[in-house]
C-alpha cells in the first residue's frame, strides 16, 4: 500500500524491529551459525514451505494459461490491426485481451492472497465512459490493463521457473525413496535397468547405490524449499513492481494523505485555541467583570462596610486581571512563540533554559530555514525535550540543529537516559511525525532498551 511504503519515514525502535531477511531468525540478534543450520534443516517441514510449493504447483498451469490466453488474443489482434484488413476486429480482440489479462492478474492476486497471505496491489478499474468511442478509448488506453498484460506475459518464464522448482521437489522425493523403489521393483525382468536417479549420465544400479541416491535426495529436498521460495519471492517482487501504483501515483497518495493530515491538524489546532480561550481568558474576564460590577455597586452604596467590601472585591479583580494576562500570554506564545522571531538558535536556547534536565544546544545553520520549518523544528524540540524529561531519567540532553551545505535541515535530540521509547505508546511522536510529513520531512527514532534515545527530524530548509 502506498501509504506504508512511501511514507519515507523510518522507525527503528530498538533491535526488535530490525528488518529481517526472508526468514525471521532467532530473536533479531545476528543469527549464530547453529540457528542458520537449524533453519535450513527445518525448511522443508514448515507450513510456509508447503504453501509456497502449493502456490508454485498451482502457478505453473495458471501462468502458462494466462500467458497463452493473453497472447492468443493480443497476437492476432496486433497483426490484424497493423494489417488494416481487420482493424475493427483487431481492436475488439485487443480489448478482449486486456480484459483477459485483468482476469488473469485478479486470479494471481487471489491465489497469492489465499495461499501465501500476500496482498498484491489491486488494479484500479478502467475509466467508465459513455458513448462508443470514449468507451473504446478508455478500454484501449487502460494503463493498469496493459500492466496486467505485461504481468501475464512475464507469467510464462515465471511458470517455467516454478516448474523447475517443483520438479526439484519431485526429484528429491523420488531420490530419497529410491531404496523403496528398488525393493518394490527388485524382480524386474532380466536386462532391465533400474535407474531411478540420474545425475547427468549417472544411474543407480546397485542396492547400496540406492542409499547414496537417498542421501542425495535428502540434500535436494533441503535445497528445494529455498529454490521455491526464491522463485516465489522474485515473482511477488516483480508483480508488485508491475501491478503496483507508479511512483507518481504513490507520490500523489502520500501528498493526499499528508494534506488531509495538515487540514485536520489545523482544524484541531483552531479548536484547541477556541477551547483554551473559552475556558481560560474568557472565563477569567467574565469573573473579573463580575467582581468589578459588585465593587461598583458597593462603592455606589457608600457605607463604611461597603467600602471595605469593595476594596476586597477590587483586590480579587486585580489578581484576576493579572492571571488573565499570564494566561493570554501563554496562549499567544503557544500559537507562535515570539522568541522564534530571533532565529531558531535563540529559541532552542530559550527552551533549553527552561528544561528540568540540563540541555546542550548546538546550532549550525548557515542559511536560515523558512518560518514554517523553524516553527515545526521548535515545537518538535519542545515536545522531544518534554518527553525526555518525563520518561528518560537522563542526565543530559543534547539538541543539535544543523543544515549541511546543500542538505536538508536536521534536528537531533539525544538523551543518555534509559531508552526503550516506543512510538506506539502515545508519546506524541506520531504527532511530530505527521507534522514533519506535511513538509516531506521524516522522523527517525532510535531507542534501544538501556538507551541512548535519539530522535532525528529531517526537514527541507524551504518547503
Amino acid at each position: 500500500m502506498p501509504s506504508e511504503d512511501t511514507g519515507r519515514v523510518r522507525s527503528t525502535a530498538g533491535p526488535r524491529d530490525e528488518p529481517t531477511g526472508s526468514r525471521p531468525s532467532a530473536g533479531g540478534r545476528p543469527a549464530p551459525a547453529g540457528a542458520a543450520v537449524r533453519a535450513v534443516l527445518r525448511a522443508p517441514f514448515t507450513r510456509r514451505a508447503w504453501r509456497e510449493l502449493l502456490y508454485a504447483v498451482a502457478g505453473v498451469p495458471l501462468g502458462a494459461a494466462g500467458f497463452a490466453l493473453t497472447v492468443a488474443f493480443l497476437g492476432p489482434a496486433t497483426v490484424l490491426t497493423i494489417s488494416l484488413i481487420g482493424t475493427v476486429l483487431g481492436l475488439v480482440l485487443v480489448m478482449a485481451g486486456l480484459r483477459v489479462a485483468r482476469v488473469v492478474s485478479a486470479g494471481q492476486r487471489a491465489l497469492a492472497g489465499a495461499l501465501l497471505g500476500e496482498r498484491l496491489p489491486q488494479l484500479p478499474p478502467a475509466r467508465r465512459e459513455t458513448g462508443v468511442l470514449p468507451r473504446v478509448d478508455a478500454r484501449l488506453r487502460d494503463g493498469p490493463g496493459w500492466r496486467a498484460v505485461a504481468a501475464a506475459t512475464l507469467g510464462l518464464p515465471i511458470a517455467v521457473a516454478k516448474y523447475i522448482a517443483v520438479l526439484w521437489w519431485a526429484f528429491g522425493v523420488f531420490s530419497l525413496t529410491s531404496p523403496v523403489w528398488w525393493l518394490l521393483f527388485r524382480n524386474h525382468p532380466a536386462g532391465t535397468h533400474l535407474s531411478p536417479v540420474h545425475f547427468g549420465r549417472l544411474a543407480v544400479e546397485t542396492w547400496p547405490g540406492t542409499w547414496l541416491a537417498a542421501v542425495a535426495g535428502a540434500a535436494i529436498l533441503l535445497a528445494a524449499p529455498w529454490l521455491v521460495r526464491g522463485v516465489v519471492v522474485s515473482e511477488l517482487w516483480l508483480l508488485r513492481r508491475i501491478l503496483g501504483p507508479g511512483e507518481m501515483a504513490a507520490r500523489v497518495a502520500t501528498l493526499e494523505q499528508s494534506r488531509s493530515e495538515v487540514v485536520n491538524e489545523a482544524a484541531a489546532l483552531v479548536r484547541q485555541i477556541e477551547r483554551n480561550l473559552h475556558d481560560g481568558a474568557q472565563t477569567r474576564l467574565a469573573t473579573l467583570a463580575l467582581h468589578l460590577g459588585m465593587a461598583r455597586d458597593k462603592l455606589a452604596a457608600g457605607g463604611p462596610g461597603e467600602i471595605a467590601a469593595a476594596r476586597d472585591l477590587v483586590e480579587i479583580a486585580h489578581a484576576g486581571a493579572k492571571e488573565a494576562l499570564v494566561e493570554l500570554r501563554n496562549l499567544a506564545s503557544g500559537i507562535h512563540p515570539p522568541v522564534l522571531d530571533n532565529g531558531l538558535g535563540r529559541a532552542l536556547e530559550n527552551l533549553a533554559a527552561g528544561s528540568a534536565i540540563p540541555v546542550r544546544v548546538t546550532t549550525h545553520l548557515p542559511e536560515r530555514p523558512s518560518p514554517a520549518i523553524e516553527t515545526i523544528a521548535y515545537f518538535s524540540a519542545a515536545e522531544l525535550l518534554a518527553n525526555a524529561v518525563k520518561h528518560s531519567s537522563a542526565n543530559v540532553i543534547e539538541v543539535a540543529a544543523t543544515s549541511p551545505p546543500g542538505g536538508p535541515f536536521v534536528l537531533i535530540v539525544t538523551d543518555d537516559g534509559r531508552g526503550g521509547a516506543d512510538e506506539a505508546c502515545g508519546s506524541g511522536l506520531s504527532g511530530l511525525r505527521h507534522r514533519a510529513r506535511t513538509v516531506d520531512g521524516t522522523l527517525t527514532l532510535t531507542s534501544p532498551p538501556g538507551g541512548p534515545t535519539t530522535v532525528s527530524v529531517e526537514l527541507p530548509l524551504h518547503p
Binding site: R275, H278, D279, Q282, T283, R284, A286, T287, A289, L290, H291, L292, G293, M294, D297, G320
Partner: protein, 217 residues
C-alpha cells in the same frame, strides 16, 4: 426575593466562586455549587432550589451538557426555574430551550454577571416563572428575521420596546429601563402588536414566545 434558594453548575471554579459570592451577597441561599451537569441534577434532587444557574459547556464532553440537563430539569421539575449561562449565544439553543414554554427559563451571556443587579433581576424573574432572554438573542433573531416589512414599520422606540419585551421584561421593567411611564410602554406595546398582527395582552412569557415565533416565521 431574599432567601431564594439557588443551585449553580459551572465548571470553572473561578467563575463558580464569583457567582456564589454575588448571589450570597444579595441574600440568596446557594444550596450547592457544582462543576458538571450530573452533579447539578443530583444537587437539585437534594436541595429543591427555586432556580438553577447552569453553564452549557461542561465536563465530560464540553459540548452542550448543561443545555441537555436544563431540558431534563424543565421536564422533571417544571416548578424550578432554569437560567442557562453561556459564553456564546446560539439562537438554536435559545429556541430549543424555550420550545413551547417560555415560563421559568432564561438564557444569558456570561457577560451579564458584570451587572449584579440586572443579573439578579433576571434570576428572580426566572425563579418566579418568567423569562430572561439575552438581548443578544433578540437582536440576532431580528437581524436574521425575514419579517423585515413588519419590523421596518416600527419606530426606533418601538423596536427598543420589542427587544426588552422579547427579553421577558414586564411593562413596569421596560418603563424603568427606558425611563418612560408605564402608560407610554403600554401604548408602544399595543402599537407593536397591532403593526405585527400579534394577539395582544398576554402574560409576559407568552408574549416572549409570540415575538420569537414572529421573528422566526
Amino acid at each position: 426575593m431574599a432567601g431564594m434558594r439557588v443551585v449553580i453548575a459551572e465548571d470553572s471554579a473561578l467563575l463558580r466562586e464569583g457567582l456564589v459570592r454575588l448571589l450570597e451577597d444579595r441574600g440568596y441561599e446557594v444550596g450547592a455549587a457544582v462543576g458538571d451537569a450530573s452533579s447539578m441534577l443530583a444537587a437539585v434532587a437534594e436541595h429543591h432550589p427555586d432556580v438553577v444557574v447552569t453553564d452549557i459547556r461542561m465536563p465530560p464532553t464540553h459540548t452542550d451538557e448543561g443545555l441537555r440537563a436544563a431540558a431534563e430539569l424543565r421536564k422533571q421539575h417544571p416548578e424550578i426555574g432554569v437560567l442557562v449561562l453561556s459564553q456564546y449565544i446560539e439562537t438554536t439553543y435559545a429556541t430549543a430551550l424555550l420550545a413551547g414554554n417560555a415560563g421559568g427559563v432564561g438564557y444569558l451571556l456570561k457577560d451579564r454577571v458584570a451587572d449584579a443587579a440586572e443579573f439578579a433581576g433576571a434570576l428572580e424573574r426566572v425563579a418566579a416563572g418568567g423569562t430572561a432572554l439575552d438581548p443578544e438573542v433578540v437582536t440576532k433573531l431580528m437581524r436574521a428575521s425575514r419579517q423585515t416589512g413588519g419590523l421596518g414599520g416600527l419606530t426606533p422606540r418601538e423596536r427598543e420596546v420589542l427587544v426588552l419585551m422579547a427579553e421577558g421584561r414586564s411593562n413596569a421593567a421596560i418603563a424603568a429601563a427606558m425611563v418612560i411611564s408605564s402608560g407610554a410602554v403600554e401604548k408602544h406595546v399595543a402599537s407593536i402588536f397591532g403593526k405585527l398582527g400579534l394577539p395582544s395582552s398576554e402574560a409576559d412569557n407568552r408574549r416572549v414566545l409570540a415575538v420569537l415565533q414572529y421573528l422566526r416565521a
